[in-house]
Subunit: 151 residues, 2 copies
């Protein structure tokens, strides 16, 4: 079972690629609390905090692949059970003055409620990526758009 | 291949159900140009227009099922080839003061680019549904949030 999304960003592909391959870039659209080594062979730790600063969970990823201006691929090694072993990829192309991001979060064990939640949540984070690259201002956690009782 | 999403709306289930089962409700969050008969056995026509009023496509749906306060299910009978025969369902439950909407758009022939685009776009329309029900103001087409060169 796969979550897939597609967004277009009015910016050069190099700028989008930087937002996916540097700790500074990633912390500007997904979660402020991003640490580690975003290079191939490295590992990135994404942590999430509540409004009052309490750690409420997170994900550890191995960086499997980076093809400059084209592709980034991670594998989840720490996090909720449903995420373990899943892979996340971003494919970049150029169309009509947009950098197109094709996103996949692949290998879910079942298309249940948590996958549905993450599917919607990924859409909001990809639009946060778009806004950060286009305007300099994303909505990374803990300032992310809340979509339900599960945040 | 299925698109799935989950959003929570801080409003009574009856209000969310009305937004999914009346032409007035549907035209407030998906597309202004919604016509037809939203009752079971009826058919709904959803049309989309560009900013200058030109018809740019749409979908015809048969209403397969309505379980008051619980479920709505449609089948696509007119529209782009990838959509024909696919089914769309909304399941409603109550949790923590939210009406939870579990959304599915099921039966895609392949998880290609158009499905990825529609997955992201459905997320934005479900948040438009949420905003309409909670605040009275959604973002139906042609005022929908644009996400790429494909709108």
């Amino acid at each position: 079972m796969n979550i897939i999304h597609r967004v277009g960003i009015q910016a050069p592909v190099s700028k989008v690629y930087a937002a996916l391959t540097t700790i500074d870039g990633l912390s500007g659209w997904w979660t402020r609390d991003t640490t580690g080594d975003a290079r191939p062979g490295g590992a990135i730790e994404f942590r999430f905090r509540s409004a009052d600063g309490k750690d409420i969970g997170g994900f550890g990823m191995d960086v499997l692949e980076q093809a400059p201006g084209q592709r980034v691929r991670w594998r989840v090694k720490e996090g909720p059970a449903e995420w373990l072993g899943t892979e996340i990829d971003f494919e970049l192309t150029q169309e009509d003055g947009f950098t197109i991001v094709r996103f996949g979060h692949r290998g879910w064990p079942a298309d249940g409620d948590f996958m549905a939640h993450c599917s919607t949540k990924w859409a909001t984070f990809l639009l946060s990526l778009r806004d950060m690259v286009e305007s300099g201002q994303g909505r990374p956690a803990p300032n992310d758009l809340k979509i339900s009782n599960w945040h």
